[in-house]
């Protein structure tokens, strides 16, 4: 009896060993000319760099300035130098929410408040001696749990912007094509969702009509007092500061928030702050989030792969990410990263804009970007 079990197990073991050997032979080798990556949570990246677990990391603010201000790291390259005005966080609406009574109007009013909040932030950032700048920094400190020095440093490489436009569209097209190349989604998924091509997908998925309609929105009494818009956002993501400003009752000087000023009652969705965009998209799928701030990539991937019914209705920011290397690490350009390890946000490691942008830049420099083995 036992002998037969041994034989069965030996056969199974031989099969596994064969499969492993075949896989090793099939895998891309990454020999020379390659930079290695590992998935890390952005909050752990500074500690990982400080303890030499990784040689560099790429993340969004405030995780970049956190290391710089703390003298743990220095920025090798900002993502704005890789792709100027690249998109990052966006405002997304659940399509089924738009079908509800007042759904479209609420989304338009939400976008109006988002525009006003963004304009207020940009005006505050333009005058660093003004009271509004101090107010903005205080709000950012409270939201990110970082000190004022870190937040102020982070503002230097971050642009709050709501417009979308052609450069936004072409960036999303590039990212979507990269996802297809990386085997993270497929052309057939595009077809399944009713899109003829990547261009057609981006054209349909990024809907500018809400921004256009916001021009004609005037302040009003709250129109959804019985059923608030359930708002999603990520944990301490400085790129999504507009929603903090739009909820703050001290910004308008009337005792009402910008959301309330434009007639929208907003409540935090169940599960906020979300740990990552994927979790927030699952909130959209579960109908617990109506409108949310998150990175464009998880929105694209979850929409295409899981069929989550969402639409991008505004940008939240552009740029604002950087590649950080250790202080005195001897890494002065991208070629110095050869055979070294870079932490990227994830998993999924390949989904973030930070990963995609670094991959683009490394390939421009003749370097591969492969998972660390």
């Amino acid at each position: 009896m036992d002998r037969k079990i041994i034989i069965a197990i030996v056969i199974a073991a031989i099969v596994i060993v064969g499969i492993v050997a075949a896989a090793v032979l099939l895998n891309r080798d990454g020999k020379g000319g390659s930079v290695r990556y590992l998935a890390f949570a952005p909050k752990d990246m500074k500690a990982a760099l400080a303890t030499n677990q990784v040689d560099a990391y790429i993340a969004w603010e405030p995780y970049v300035s956190d290391s710089v201000v703390g003298h743990v790291g220095e920025v090798l390259i900002w993502t704005e130098d890789i792709m100027p005005n690249h998109p990052c966080c966006v405002v997304v609406v659940r399509n089924a929410f738009l079908s509800q009574p007042n759904g479209v109007e609420l989304a338009q009013r939400f976008v109006k408040a988002h525009i006003e909040a963004t304009d207020w932030m940009n005006a505050a950032l333009a005058d660093k001696t003004g009271a509004n700048y101090t107010k903005l920094v205080d709000m950012a400190v409270g939201f990110t749990s970082r000190n004022a020095t870190v937040v102020e440093a982070a503002f230097e490489h971050l642009q709050f912007r709501y417009e979308m436009g052609s450069s936004f569209d072409s960036a999303l097209e590039k990212f979507t094509n990269m996802y297809i190349d990386l085997n993270m989604t497929t052309s057939s998924k595009l077809t399944d969702r009713g899109y003829a091509s990547v261009d057609n997908f981006v054209e349909m998925y990024a809907n500018e009509t809400y921004l256009e309609a916001a021009d004609s929105i005037a302040p009003s009494a709250i129109i959804n007092s019985e059923s608030p818009v359930h708002l999603g956002y990520l944990n301490g993501d400085l790129h999504q500061l507009a929603q903090v400003v739009a909820k703050n009752t001290e910004v308008t000087g009337t005792g009402k928030s910008l959301f309330e000023t434009y007639g929208v009652k907003v409540a935090d969705a169940v599960g906020v702050p979300f740990a990552n965009g994927g979790a927030e998209m699952d909130g959209f799928a579960a109908s617990t989030v109506d409108i949310g701030y998150l990175g464009a990539p998880p929105s694209i991937i979850k929409h295409l792969n899981a069929g989550t019914g969402t639409t991008i209705i505004a940008q939240a920011n552009v740029e604002g990410s950087g590649l950080v290397v250790g202080v005195d690490s001897g890494i002065h350009d991208l070629h110095d990263l050869m055979n070294k390890t870079v932490a990227v946000p994830g998993p999924p490691a390949e989904q973030s804009i930070q990963f995609l942008l670094l991959k683009i830049e490394l390939e421009r420099n003749g370097l591969d970007f492969v998972v660390k083995t």
Partner: protein
């Protein structure tokens, strides 16, 4: 080759009722799964699709994704074989570490009240903490290679420790008295009475620990997983909403768990027979 075939045939003949029941339960499970997926997707014979339609693929979609993951659909540039290899390395290292520490510690705690008094508060304090909570700390403190092994170690360590402790404590006192009467010294009693008596308990601990270890591998490979891993594969495909692939990763964990616990069970049976306990 003929003898293997004959052995397999005899095995089937001897156990055909068990096999039939096992196959029947699997068929029913797959049928119910397919039915649920069809209901979510509003495929025949149902109408009206659910929002969760994409989250539950059909079994054959999972099997297809499982097959393709080995040859043509890499995740993070790595095929399933590489992920399996990375996970097995972590499991073996975590198991060896847990075994080496938990067995002597369990024997001491089971036979020496002072050792138990010293270790028990620490064990009871740390035992209920889910391995997931340790991930960021382990990664930074122990690094990206040892850190994930440490998470697996935690999953295997406590079941082995507690079973060995229980086994060592349960030794029949009449056996010890008999050994003493025959002139055995303390070390002899430990080596020739306590240790053999504890082996079945140890094997139970290993079997349970391996199962928990495979559960922990998903947590262990959530971050900083060098060379990927099946847990990393699951996290990545789940994050990308590649649900057939995600379920394929789960299937792989199940297969690996069956194989490793099967080996442990086999060793347990052989040891028991060798020791005259069966």
């Amino acid at each position: 080759m003929n003898s293997i075939a004959a052995s397999l045939l005899r095995l089937i003949q001897e156990n055909w009722r068990k096999l039939l029941l096992g196959v029947a339960s699997m068929v029913v499970f797959l049928f119910l799964w397919s039915l649920y997926a069809a209901w979510l997707k509003a495929d025949w014979p149902f109408h009206g699709a659910s929002g969760a339609a994409e989250y539950v693929p059909y079994p054959w979609e999972v099997l297809n994704a499982f097959y393709l993951s080995f040859w043509s659909h890499p995740v993070s540039g790595l095929y399933m074989g590489s992920h399996v290899y990375a996970s097995l390395k972590r499991m073996v290292a975590g198991f060896v570490l847990a075994f080496v520490i938990a067995v002597p510690a369990g024997l001491l705690m089971g036979r020496m009240w002072k050792a138990e008094a010293v270790a028990k508060p620490v064990v009871e304090l740390f035992r209920p903490i889910p391995p997931l909570a340790w991930i960021p700390i382990f990664l930074v403190v122990f690094g990206v290679v040892i850190g994930p092994i440490g998470i697996v170690f935690l999953g295997i360590f406590f079941p082995v420790l507690l079973n060995v402790q229980f086994g060592a404590r349960s030794v029949d006192s009449s056996l010890i008295d008999a050994a003493r009467t025959l002139g055995a010294r303390r070390l002899d009693i430990f080596a020739k009475v306590v240790l053999p008596f504890t082996v079945p308990y140890l094997m139970t601990g290993i079997t349970v620990g391996l199962g928990i270890g495979w559960m922990c591998i998903v947590a262990a490979e959530m971050l900083g997983a060098v060379g990927g891993g099946v847990g990393y594969f699951i996290f990545t495909t789940a994050g990308n909403s590649q649900y057939p692939e995600m379920f394929a990763g789960m299937l792989m964990i199940g297969i690996l768990s069956i194989l490793t616990t099967g080996i442990a069970g086999l060793i347990e049976r052989r040891l028991s027979k060798w020791m005259g306990m069966r």
